[in-house]
């Protein structure tokens, strides 16, 4: 080996490596796209919303009981939309949370590996179905089904939408909860079994509490997704703002309002146009708070077990 020529080696680089810096710059630029998206969302919502609130007082908006932006005289109380969102979300979570958690407990604590390996993907199939399909199902099947079993629902109603949305959200709850429960170390379970506990006790008193951050995170995420979901309610819940808590009636949610108005030929800059952004901002803030909370919860459970 010619180590003689390396006796006085030149450790300086033969040429400056500019390429490395250029590449790092390009990659950082890619990362900035996501920053630009968030900034864009905030700007897109904030400015028109602020203009809106110059014409309509925030108090009237948040406490008004009638939503009629296109009538004369126009009224801009968001409560009917909020009620629509909350009612649908309530029924969705009534389905998604208990059944999603139940499915997760079964998959994590009861199912044999082989059963689990085909049940989990099947649940994922449910998660992959586009929301427009669920909307169709709610309108054309579930509404009829509810009537057949004696519940007098309007053609468009919050109940069908809520129930179907609940099933749609089950995989969200199930998947995240199951991840959290599977991450709980075996030793905790073994210790309980060794003391003579049955599976019911181990699951509910040991595993679920240990995985609680992840489980609660899944609930919060499900609520957030229910609040933000558009197609199911647009198709099946109706476009009649209705301040009520009776889910058998038609109700309009915040998302349905945005969807219905946004595609119409609403003149840019008009007050009706700006309502999109005011309601959108409300929606965004609600889901943002929930998402950040859920992210923190997930981080906490990951820190404990990983």
């Amino acid at each position: 080996m010619s180590t003689a020529e390396l006796s006085a080696p030149a450790l300086r680089a033969s040429r400056r490596r500019y390429g490395e810096d250029v590449i790092k710059g390009l990659l950082a630029l890619c990362a900035l796209v996501s920053v630009a998206t968030t900034v864009g969302i905030v700007v897109a919502l904030l400015f028109p919303a602020l203009e809106f609130f110059r014409e309509v007082s925030l108090v009237d908006f948040l406490t008004g009981k009638t939503w009629a932006p296109l009538f004369e005289p126009a009224e801009f109380g968001v409560l009917p939309l909020l009620a629509g969102t909350l009612v649908v979300t309530f029924w969705a979570c009534l389905v998604a949370i208990p059944f999603g958690l139940g499915a997760a407990i079964y998959l994590s604590e009861y199912a044999r590996p082989r059963t689990r390996s085909f049940l989990k993907p099947l649940l994922e199939v449910l998660a992959g179905i586009p929301t427009v399909v669920f909307g169709y199902f709610a309108l054309t099947f579930v509404t009829q089904l509810l009537r057949d079993i004696g519940i007098q629902v309007d053609i468009f109603n919050a109940l069908s939408a809520g129930l179907v949305m609940g099933v749609m959200l089950m995989p969200t709850v199930a998947s995240l909860s199951e991840d959290a429960m599977v991450a709980v170390p075996r030793e905790l379970r073994d210790g309980a079994y060794a003391l003579g506990s049955r599976k019911l006790q181990v699951s509910t008193r040991i595993v679920v509490p240990a995985a609680i951050s992840g489980i609660v995170a899944s609930f919060v995420l499900a609520i957030s997704r229910a609040v933000g979901e558009t197609m199911i309610v647009l198709i099946a819940a109706g476009q009649q703002p209705n301040l009520t808590f009776d889910p058998r009636r038609a109700m309009e949610t915040m998302t349905a309002f945005i969807g219905a108005t946004g595609n119409g030929d609403v003149p840019t800059g008009s007050i009706e146009y700006k309502t999109i952004f005011a309601v959108g901002l409300t929606l965004f803030v609600m889901t943002l708070v929930m998402n950040l909370f859920a992210i923190r919860l997930v981080r906490r459970f990951r820190e404990v077990y990983e």
Binding site: V35, Y136, T140, L200, T230, G262
Partner: protein
């Protein structure tokens, strides 16, 4: 000590859990059966080759299907470079102790959970009216890119993270620069995971309806779409038909759903096949 009592409570609990699973699967089954039953009538080549019409017996979904395919291709072209680039930056270059990098991570996680209609608002404000692109295929593709990007980033990060550090160490020790290590060792090993994640993200993007409605994809489109022309996509076409009262349009909607689900099933099956065939077990 008493003799072993029947674990009634345990059995009831187990049953309740099975019922939970059943709710999901029975609903899925009912949905598929209903769609298949109603959609079967209009499912024929005519559906693929003809544009929609006010007469349901003369209606097809050709423009919608074509636009969906175009947008799918554009989606891949846009999201994969940017998403993988972001993932590489976060995993291989960014100092995790710096506040701005941590903020970047939280930002991406949050964007993944923002309601899709908000992306529609973003698109309406900036791309359609702001950039002046108008209600065109390209605008739709751009908005869906932004919506799907966080998913691609997260999947790419996982694939890159799965490459063992010992490979990087060996490459560095031989005198490779950071980019050489990434391009020649890390990325090739991560490609199966990245491909799978991208395809799954793509299938999510194709099924999206709300953002595209917001940018005007609801127009009655009876001609083949072009990059800078008005358009509709299959999910929106389904929505369109579902909203019409006549029974026949409901059936058409079901037919559209069969085609859409067929596309998604193919994509997902392909992604799973990719993963099983090429994924490395470290």
């Amino acid at each position: 000590m008493k003799g072993r009592s029947r674990d009634v409570r345990g059995a009831i609990f187990r049953l309740a859990l099975l019922v939970s699973l059943a709710v999901a699967f029975v609903t899925l089954g009912a949905l598929l059966v209903d769609v298949a039953g109603k959609g079967f009538e209009f499912l024929d080549p005519f559906f693929f080759t003809h544009p929609p019409s006010t007469d349901p017996h003369q209606a097809g979904a050709r423009p919608a299907i074509l636009a969906t395919l175009y947008i799918g291709v554009l989606l891949l072209l846009f999201t994969v470079p940017v998403g993988v680039g972001t993932a590489i930056y976060l995993e291989e270059y960014a100092d995790k102790n710096r506040w701005y990098n941590r903020l970047l991570e939280v930002n991406i996680q949050n964007l993944a959970a923002v309601p899709s209609i908000v992306y529609g608002i973003l698109g309406l404000a900036f791309i359609v009216r702001g950039l002046g692109l108008g209600r065109v295929v390209l605008a739709g593709a751009l908005i869906l890119t932004l919506l799907v990007l966080p998913t691609v980033i997260i999947a790419a990060r996982e694939a890159i993270r799965a490459v063992p550090d010992s490979i990087r160490q060996a490459a560095f020790a031989l005198g490779a620069t950071r980019w050489q290590v990434i391009a020649r060792q890390v990325l090739p090993a991560a490609i199966p995971g990245i491909a799978t994640g991208s395809i799954l993200a793509l299938s999510r993007g194709i099924g999206e309806t709300a953002p595209l409605i917001m940018i005007g994809a609801l127009t009655y489109v009876a001609f083949d779409p072009s990059l800078l022309g008005p358009f509709t996509v299959l999910p929106v076409q389904i929505y369109n038909w579902t909203s019409q009262p006549q029974e026949d349009f409901v059936k058409l909607a079901a037919t559209g759903i069969i085609v859409l689900l067929g596309m998604l099933l193919t994509l997902n099956a392909f992604a799973i096949w990719l993963r099983n065939r090429y994924e490395r077990r470290w």
